[in-house]
Amino acid sequence: MFKWEKLGQLFNPATQNGSSWMHEYAQAPSVVVFNDFVRVFFSSRPAPENGQYVSRLGYIDLKRDDLFEIINICKDPILPLGELGTFDEFGTYPASVIKTGTEIRAYYAGWTRCESVPFNAAIGLAISNDNGETFHKPGQGPVIPYTLDEPFVMGSPKIRRFNDTWYLWYSAGKKWIANDGKPQPVYKIRMAASGDGIHWTKIGRDLINDVLEENECQASADVFFYEGKYHMFFSYRYNLGYRETGRGYNIGYAVSDDLLTWKRNDQRAGITVSESGWDSESVSYPFVFELDNTIYMLHQGNEIGRYGFGLAKLKSYNQ
């Protein structure tokens, strides 16, 4: 059982009076720790055009010994959108970053727009050689392809490395629900492994059983190793009506000894919506990291991160 102490909302782009591309939303926080600061990458959005959003990747820097002090906000998006007709032409969200040698790699979901359904997504790779201030793409296409049983909507990548193997957790679309002309995808958490982070082998099955309904949507599986076990915090919600109270994203939990077999037990997550405030309707997109002997979780709040993200601290854990 985990027990988290919420430290509160940490960053809300709307109150920063900053760049127009960082108008609202700070989604899917992901961290690289530096000597004096913690760089938090996230996806933000300019005001919508014709009701449609474009997500862009950016970062803020937090003072290492006081994470609630923001010491820097990036000026411009750090990852360009894709060219005409490519998978990431209309957005890069979410991204998961990892430091490897002198590089920082970002695995991100790219968004394109379709006719019969509103969008499709695929997972791309971008690389930074300047500590995450800018990213370039090794190719114009995605790094994990669609396959026979993963036909569309591959999203919410989360990259981790354990014992020299790269692991990527992601959501894979299962089907689109027609929903009276407003189609909604159903997606489940899956995994791929790689020796180099470029060439991936999918394990080809859903990792996490459903608890809400058959069409439960699962995303953003964040895995970390602690006290001899692998722990996964993820987001899950109902397929339809997820803007209504009680149907939106909450944080789920599963545990594993081998990264392949997972035992779900959401009660052990130790974090959920607050009674009031910025994360009272929904919590999602957890990112767990260790810093100076403390374990933290970044997470987004109401309306899937529209008002930014907050921070929690691990108070206790027992098996």
Binding site: G82, E83, L84, G85, T86, F87, E89, F90, T112, R113, C114, E115, S116, V117, N120, A122, L125, P138, G139, Q140, G141, P142, V143, P145, Y146, T147, L148, D149, E150, P151, F152, V153, G173, K175, W176, A178, P183, P185, I198
Partner: protein, 318 residues
């Protein structure tokens, strides 16, 4: 190579086709039986928005290609479900005998917003002699990757020495001749291999046929046959823009040969076939399919207007 044209052999407007299809018989692909030859093609219906949906049908010919024995009356393979890669059409379909099974590699199309469509290659299997096919999954077997970012299509599969070879094309760019025109695509021929016909290894952006027209040459529909110790590839190629109305920029048949399946020599001058002076294949020739039947080698292909009025056949003389 020298081909003798036998003329147009199928006109879709002369037959009742399933799925409300009324014109187009594109990319003919042959499957040879003991007593007849089944030719699959992509035909079209208009949906309620006025846009086309491509469906697969077939026609059975006698082995002289003089007599039509049968035209499919039912759906050969349904289109994909909502949001799938093959929701808005299958064009072309490549059909391959593999021991007791018949495999179909389908190019599935789905409509997009900033560009007209994307495409990937799927797999379907028939257990009823090619009358119907069932897809192996809702997703594709060959699709966009790091250096092949979109429009992975036109798969043609041949099995040589227990290795599955697929020739296919991938998109390299979307281009616009003028601001007023919708973007047009550029694509190139590539090659993948597989040990099971399901899991494929691409060469990631490798182009195996050099351009002849210019860097934006569009190369499509490779078809390969082994004859003696040489592999022969036919394909079609055109300019990237202005190809619909201007016959000088439209599809032509190209040719290349290889002895090792790795290095290909382009040799269009020796294709041995070209547009006619007049008639159904005088403006363009496209979507070739080469096959053997009773020791003869045939070439199926489309003519003017991308096969709107049907397909024809030629036989190899020497």
């Amino acid at each position: 190579m020298k081909w003798k044209k036998l003329g147009k052999i199928f006109d879709p407007t002369e037959h009742k086709l399933p799925n409300n299809c009324f014109e187009f018989a594109q990319s003919p692909q042959a499957l040879v039986f003991d007593n007849f030859v089944r030719i699959y093609f992509s035909t079209r219906e208009k949906d309620k928005t006025g846009k086309y949906l491509s469906h697969i049908s077939f026609v059975d010919f006698d082995k002289d290609f003089q007599t039509i024995l049968n035209v499919s009356v039912n759906t050969v393979i349904p289109l994909g479900e909502l949001g799938c890669f093959d929701e808005h059409g299958i064009f072309p379909i490549n059909v391959v005998r593999d021991k007791d099974k018949i495999l179909a590699y389908t190019t599935g199309w789905n409509r997009k917003v900033s560009v007209s469509a994307d495409a990937s290659i799927g797999l379907a299997i028939s257990n009823d002699n090619g009358t119907t096919f069932r897809r192996s999954g809702p997703g594709p077997v060959l699709t966009a990757t790091l250096n092949e970012p979109f429009l992975v299509c036109d798969g043609f599969v041949a099995i040589f020495e227990n290795v599955y070879h697929m020739w296919y094309i991938f998109g390299t760019e979307w281009t616009t001749a003028t601001k007023e025109e919708a973007p047009d695509r550029v694509y190139k021929i590539s090659h993948a291999v597989s040990s099971d016909g399901i899991n494929w290894q691409k060469e990631e952006g490798k182009r195996i046929i050099p351009d002849k027209l210019d860097a934006q040459e569009c190369q499509a529909l490779p078809t390969v046959i082994r004859h003696g110790d040489t592999y022969h590839m036919y394909f079609c190629y055109r300019h990237a823009t202005g190809f619909r109305k201007n016959k000088e920029r439209g599809y032509r048949v190209g040719y290349a040969y290889s002895r090792d399946l790795i290095n290909w020599t382009r040799d269009d001058e020796n294709a041995g076939i070209a547009c006619s002076k007049e008639g159904w294949d005088s403006d363009m020739m496209c979507y070739p399919c080469i096959f053997k039947c009773d020791d003869k080698v045939y070439l199926l292909y489309n003519g003017n207007e991308f096969g709107r009025w049907g397909f024809g056949i030629a036989v190899l003389e020497h």
